[in-house]
C-alpha cells in the first residue's frame, strides 16, 4: 500500500496535495484497492463552482461498489482533470498521479482536520485488509 509522505489524507480516503492555497485532490491507493476494478468515473461539480468540505466532488464505480469522492476542503473548483473520465483505469494503477480536481481553498484551517501519512497509515491498518 502506497502512502506518500508529502500528502494530507481524509477519513473518506481522499488525498490532498497542498501548494499555497491550491489543493489537488484524488483518492488513495487504499480506496482504489477497496473498490477493485474501476469501471466508471463522473464529476459531480463544474469548474468554477464554489464547494463545501464534505460535499460530493465525483463518483467512482467498480463492479461491486459505487463511492462518492468528497471534498476534503472548502473553496472554489479551479480545474477538473477531464482525462480521468475516459482513462479511469489509471485510478487503479496510479492513484496518486491521476488527480481529479484542483480547489482554491477558502479556509486553510480545513487542512487541520486532515491526517498526515503516518496517521493515515495507522487509520488504514485499523480498518483491516
Amino acid at each position: 500500500m502506497k502512502i506518500p509522505g508529502d500528502l494530507k489524507y481524509s477519513k473518506t480516503d481522499e488525498w490532498v496535495k497542498v501548494d499555497g492555497k491550491a489543493a489537488t485532490i484524488g483518492i488513495t491507493d487504499y480506496a482504489q484497492s477497496q473498490l477493485s476494478d474501476i469501471v466508471y468515473f463522473e464529476f459531480k461539480v463544474d469548474n468554477g463552482e464554489t464547494v463545501k468540505k464534505g460535499g460530493t466532488a465525483a463518483t467512482v464505480e467498480s463492479v461491486k461498489a459505487a463511492a462518492d469522492v468528497n471534498f476534503p476542503v472548502s473553496g472554489k473548483v479551479v480545474e477538473l482533470n477531464e482525462s480521468v473520465v475516459d482513462a479511469f483505469e489509471g485510478i487503479n494503477s496510479a492513484p496518486y498521479e491521476n488527480w481529479f480536481l484542483k480547489v482554491e481553498m477558502s479556509d486553510l484551517g480545513d487542512l487541520n482536520s486532515l491526517m498526515d501519512a503516518a496517521e493515515y497509515e495507522k487509520y488504514c491498518a485499523e480498518r483491516g485488509h
Binding site: 469501471v39 461498489a65 459505487a66
Partner: protein, 450 residues
C-alpha cells in the same frame, strides 16, 4: 397440496429443532397478538376454485365477445399462440431475478435480446430491461432528467397530448422533489396545443420535454425541428411511443430524441384488465449510467465463452442505498420475454403488416364515421390507428347504446380534458374486420336517429 409434510416428518423435524410443538416456534411473537383468528372463507379444492373463478370471469364481458374500439393506452391485438407457450415454461416462469448468471443464462440472454429488439425498434442506442409500465417509464424519464442536471433545472414541459395517466404518475413521482415546476398541460391549456406552442415553454431552466408519438389522440407529426428547439435550450427530449406504430413510422431516434418511453403491452401482452404490462425505456448511450432499472450486458467466462450478466449494478439501490436515484429492483421479466418472443415471431414483415392493417382500417373507419351526420372527425393531421370524433351526445350515452349491440365504444375524452366533452377517441386494430367497422357506423348512425 402445496405443503408436503407428513405427521411423522413434522414430529421428526420438531425433535431435531428441539421444540415440542409448532406453536413453540413463535414464542418471540407477543402473546396478545399471537394466532389471531382470521375471518376468511373456507379453503377450496382446485376443482372448486376453478369453478368459482370461471363463474366470476364469466360475469365480465370481454373483448372476446365484444367488438372492441377502445384503446387510449391499451390495445386489442392478436397474440400468436407460441408467445404464451414460451412464457408458460416453468424454467422462465418460476426463476428469480438472474443474480446467479451461471444458472440464469436463459433469462439473461432473453433480456439481452429484448433490449436489442427495443433499441432497434425505437432507433435508440440502448434499452434497459424494462419498467413496470408505460406510465412509470415516463415518470422515470423525469427522474433521470432531474438527476442529469443535478437538480439544477427545475422545469418539466409536458405536452397535454401525452397519455393523461402517464402525466398523472409522473406528477406523483415528482411531487417529492421540491421547487419543481411542470408546465404545458395545466388545466385550461388547449388539449391540441401544437408543438410549436409547446416549444415556447422550453427555457434554459428546462430539464425535460415530453411529447407522445403517435400522441394520445392518435396524431403523428415530424418532430425533427421540435427536437432541435429542445436541444437548443439544452434540455432532454423524451418521446412516449406506441411500439406497433414504429413498425412503419420514422423513429424518435431519427428525430434526435434523447429518451424513448412507452407501453409495451401491444407487443404480445394480453389486455388483462390493465396489467401486468411492460414499460419500455430506451435512450442515447450517453445516458446509460443514469437509466434506472436493470441492464444485461454481454461478456465472457474464463474459457472465453459468450455469456450475459446484469451490469452497472453499482448504480442500484442495494449498493448506493440512499444515494441511488431509483429504488427499482425488478423489471417486468416475463412480459419483456413475451414481447421478445412476439417481436421475433412477427419479425420485420409481420410487425409492419400489423401496423399497416391498423393504419388502413383506422383510416377506413375515420372516413366512414366522418360522413355520418352529427359526427365530426376532429383529427385532420396524419394519424396512426386512433382518432378523435366529436359526438352528437355524451360519449357515455353513446357507449351504452353501442354496448347493447355488442360493441365496446371508444374512450370518453371528457374524463381527462374538461373541454372535450362529447369527444370520443376511437382505436382500430388488425382485430377489427371491415364488417365490425361497418356495424359500428350503422349503430352510431342509428343512435343519432333514435
Amino acid at each position: 397440496m402445496f405443503i408436503p409434510h407428513t405427521d411423522s416428518e413434522r414430529e421428526e423435524m420438531l425433535k431435531e429443532i428441539g421444540v415440542s410443538s409448532m406453536a413453540e416456534l413463535f414464542n418471540a411473537v407477543p402473546k396478545n397478538f399471537r394466532f389471531p383468528k382470521l375471518n376468511l372463507p373456507p379453503a377450496l379444492s382446485e376443482m372448486e376454485v376453478l369453478a368459482e373463478l370461471t363463474e366470476l370471469a364469466s360475469v365480465n364481458e370481454s373483448t372476446r365477445e365484444l367488438i372492441c374500439f377502445l384503446g387510449a393506452g391499451a390495445y386489442n391485438h392478436y397474440i400468436p399462440a407460441a408467445v404464451d407457450a414460451v412464457i408458460s415454461r416453468g424454467e422462465f416462469l418460476t426463476a428469480y431475478t438472474p443474480y446467479q448468471p451461471e444458472v440464469s443464462q436463459g433469462t439473461l440472454q432473453a433480456v439481452f435480446e429484448y433490449q436489442s429488439l427495443i433499441a432497434l425498434l425505437t432507433g435508440m442506442e440502448v434499452s434497459n430491461a424494462s419498467h413496470y409500465d408505460g406510465a412509470t417509464a415516463a415518470a422515470e424519464a423525469a427522474v433521470l432528467a432531474y438527476h442529469h442536471f443535478r437538480g439544477k433545472r427545475a422545469r418539466i414541459v409536458l405536452s397535454p397530448a401525452v397519455n393523461p395517466q402517464y402525466r398523472a404518475v409522473l406528477r406523483t413521482y415528482m411531487s417529492g422533489y421540491t421547487g419543481l415546476e411542470i408546465v404545458g398541460d395545466e388545466a385550461g391549456s388547449s388539449p391540441f396545443l401544437s408543438v410549436d406552442d409547446l416549444a415556447k415553454l422550453v427555457d434554459m431552466n428546462t430539464s425535460l420535454v415530453m411529447v407522445q408519438y403517435p400522441d394520445f389522440f392518435g396524431r403523428i407529426q415530424d418532430l425533427t425541428a421540435f427536437a432541435q428547439k429542445v436541444h437548443e435550450a439544452g434540455a432532454l427530449l423524451a418521446v412516449a411511443i406506441n411500439p406497433t406504430a414504429l413498425a412503419m413510422l420514422k423513429t424518435p431516434g431519427e428525430f434526435g430524441a434523447d429518451i424513448v418511453v412507452g407501453e409495451g403491452q401491444p407487443l404480445g401482452i394480453p389486455l388483462s384488465y390493465g396489467g401486468p404490462y411492460l414499460g419500455l425505456f430506451a435512450a442515447k448511450k450517453e445516458l446509460v449510467r443514469k437509466m434506472a432499472g436493470r441492464l444485461v450486458g454481454e461478456t465472457q467466462d474464463e474459457k472465453g465463452q459468450r455469456g450475459y450478466v446484469l451490469t452497472l449494478t453499482a448504480r442500484e439501490q442495494h449498493i448506493r442505498r440512499e444515494k441511488a436515484t431509483s429504488n427499482i429492483c425488478t423489471n417486468q421479466g416475463l412480459m419483456a420475454l413475451a414481447s421478445a418472443v412476439y417481436l421475433s415471431l412477427l419479425g420485420k414483415h409481420g410487425l409492419r403488416k400489423v401496423a399497416e392493417l391498423c393504419y388502413h382500417k383506422a383510416h377506413y373507419a375515420a372516413e366512414k364515421i366522418g360522413k355520418i351526420p352529427g359526427y365530426e372527425l376532429q383529427t385532420s393531421t396524419p394519424f396512426f390507428h386512433e382518432f378523435v370524433v366529436k359526438t352528437p351526445a355524451p360519449v357515455a350515452d353513446i357507449n351504452l347504446h353501442l354496448l347493447d349491440h355488442g360493441i365496446l365504444g371508444g374512450y370518453d375524452l371528457g374524463k381527462d380534458y374538461p373541454g372535450l366533452d362529447n369527444h370520443m377517441l376511437i382505436a382500430v386494430t388488425e382485430m377489427n374486420t371491415r364488417e365490425d367497422i361497418d356495424v359500428l357506423c350503422e349503430v352510431l348512425e342509428e343512435f343519432n336517429h333514435g
